[in-house]
């Protein structure tokens, strides 16, 4: 099996597959809103604005060979959420899937949590590959047999059938959020999970739907005094008592649930000091954290703000240990990015399996990888032009100003409608899933 090591320079990323329609006319419902591998990497789930979930399953060509080619094919698809209308508040509730999180596998079935703005659902995805045959009172097509004509008894037996994958909603966790849910995170205790909206974080038990505990509440008594909102939250990967939440002001708070029932007082506050002379109208907006992710080893966390990715050591609150510029050339375009609302785009970020490389998206269907050890970064593009089977992706370069070299693209030519907000990295191997507006690209490490 391919190790997840190797920096962004050792790895040669090749096109593997692309899912979705080719046409440029994108229906709103087809906009991909979340991408997530399960814990083994065998399954890859996507959610879209139309409330649908599509799950792909990895099929490995030749299991005996190391570094073998694998393909992801459709495994299951279902409608997770429907649009709703809250009559009491005159509020339209979008069916868009904000987040999908997989539960660790406990038995043959797979479970995932999917959420829209207001309701979280637990889905069970199970396989059926046999069915009972030889009923005494029913024909094979389901018609009932007249019991009077039955002269002998037989025991029905299970016979193989074509694989059927069924998705069924097992729990619906509703009515616990006044504001819009931005995150869900499953606890390492395998029993609870948290859900976070703009102002509150709730703790749930996976089995109990009529009750949840509020663990963070930053709603001010007077809404006029509102200065910041919660933007993302996540449980620590190993410490079941620890979670973090990020804010629109660029701070991250780490909370310990052992300290008190309501974790309004943080245990740690991570904030990078800002030079007040550099402050501008845009400072707070671009410092808003759009995603926070713990490293797999639980020692670090990564945050994404508008222009950069920062890695924090959980033992040091004063400043991040690493900062990577995603698209610094946009700093001189903030005025137009504010006017077209792009400045409010929420980019996500992710770690590779051994925490040596981090990845995040950008505009023009570009995405960026930062190799922490080798201190190198690369810009790649998800495009139909580079979609020949096993085609190696060529690094891209944006020219910020001055003379544009051949093969470089100038900042003014970037397409700001082509945003890569959601990316995911296979938990062990160098396989990545990158979502453009309505297409899902899968790239793999070049097989030797």
């Amino acid at each position: 099996m391919a190790g997840a090591g190797g920096g962004s320079n050792d790895v040669q990323w090749c096109f593997s597959q692309v899912k979705g329609a080719i046409d440029d006319d994108v229906a709103e419902a087809d906009i991909i809103s979340t991408v997530e591998f399960n814990h083994s990497g065998e399954l890859l789930a996507t959610g879209d604005k139309g409330g649908r979930v599509v799950i792909f399953q990895q099929e490995i060509e030749n299991k005996s060979q190391p570094q073998c080619r694998s393909e992801y094919n459709v495994y299951s698809t279902f409608q997770s959420h429907e649009p709703e209308f809250d009559y009491l508040k005159s509020l339209e509730i979008e069916e868009k899937i904000n987040k999908i999180r997989w539960l660790p596998q406990k038995n043959a079935a797979q479970f995932l949590l999917s959420t829209n703005d207001k309701t979280i659902k637990l889905w069970k995805i199970s396989e059926r590959d046999k069915r009972p045959e030889g009923y005494n009172l029913k024909e094979e097509d389901g018609r009932f047999i007249d019991p009077n004509t039955v002269t002998a008894l037989r025991v029905p037996v299970f016979r193989p059938m074509d694989l059927m994958v069924e998705a069924s909603p097992r729990r619906v966790f509703a009515n616990a959020h006044t504001y819009h849910i931005n995150s869900i995170s499953i606890n390492s205790d395998h029993e609870t999970y948290l859900s976070a909206d703009d102002l509150r974080i709730n703790l749930w038990h996976q089995e109990i739907t009529d009750r949840s505990f509020n663990i963070v509440d930053i709603k001010p008594a007077n809404m006029e005094e509102l200065t910041e909102v919660i933007t993302a939250a996540e449980f620590h990967p190993h410490q079941c008592n620890t979670f973090v939440y990020s804010s629109s002001k660029g701070t991250i708070r780490l909370c310990d649930m052992r300290e008190s029932a309501l974790c309004d007082k943080h245990s740690k506050l991570f904030e990078e000091p800002e030079d007040p002379s550099n402050r501008s109208f845009f400072s707070e907006i671009i410092s808003s954290i759009s995603d926070v992710k713990f490293s797999h080893n639980g020692r670090y966390m990564m945050t994404r703000d508008y222009l950069s990715v920062k890695i924090w050591d959980l033992n040091m609150e004063s400043r991040p240990v690493e900062t990577y510029q995603v698209h610094e050339y946009l700093r001189s375009k903030l005025c137009s990015l504010y006017e077209n609302d792009c400045i409010f785009d929420k980019f996500e970020c992710c770690w590779n399996g051994n925490d040596s490389v981090v990845m995040t998206g950008s505009y023009n269907n570009f995405f960026r990888m930062f190799d922490r050890g080798q201190r190198r970064d690369v810009t790649l593009e998800a495009s139909r032009e580079s979609s020949k089977p096993r085609q190696v992706l060529k690094p891209r370069k944006v020219c910020a100003g001055g003379k544009r070299k051949k093969d470089e693209i100038s900042v003014d030519s970037l397409d700001f409608n082509k945003k890569i907000l959601h990316t995911a990295w296979h938990p062990q191997d160098n396989i990545i899933a990158v979502a453009t507006t309505n297409n899902l690209y899968i790239f793999q490490d070049k097989v030797n």
Binding site: K19, G20, A21, A29, D30, I32, T46, D48, G50, R52, V54, V74, T77, Q79, E82, P83, F85, Y87, K89, S90, L91, E92, I93, E94, D117, Y179, H180, D198, L199, M223, E224, E225, L226, T227, E228, V229, S248, K249, N278, S280, F281, F282, S283, E284, I285, S288, R331, S332, K333, L334, C335, Y338, E339, N438, L440
Partner: protein, 120 residues
């Protein structure tokens, strides 16, 4: 900055301060330059961008209609443009105003579910 240089001091000082001004203009951060541009286009923009106004707009996302009646009227308008309600020949013959709407006539709230193109 104010070192004692004899003789040529005044000329040097002038050049220095001019150069300094030029340098200051160039040294304005790109962010501040963008801010100036924005304020020029929208002079009424408040000083506190990340403050309550922006956040409250974010919290109120989804609030589109004054009340549920407003919402249903809007939905009915859209549906009527797309799909006129199915009426039988007999019903068509009736004079407008004599026809009482039934649940079958009223358009459904949501169109039929289409499968995701990712699964295609």
């Amino acid at each position: 900055m104010s070192e004692e240089i004899e003789g040529t001091k005044p000329a040097t000082e002038e050049a220095t301060s001019e150069e300094q001004e030029e340098m200051d203009d160039k040294v304005i951060s790109p962010e501040k330059a963008e801010e100036v541009k924005l304020k020029a286009r929208y002079p009424h923009l408040g000083a506190k961008p990340g403050g309550s106004d922006l956040l409250r707009k974010r919290l109120q996302k989804g609030q589109k209609y004054f009340d549920s009646g407003d919402y249903n009227m809007a939905k009915a308008k859209v549906k009527n443009k797309q799909q006129p309600p199915a009426v039988t020949q007999a019903e068509k013959a009736e004079i407008t105003g004599d026809h009482i709407p039934t649940p079958q006539d009223i358009p459904q709230r949501k169109p039929s579910i289409v499968a995701s193109k990712l699964a295609g």
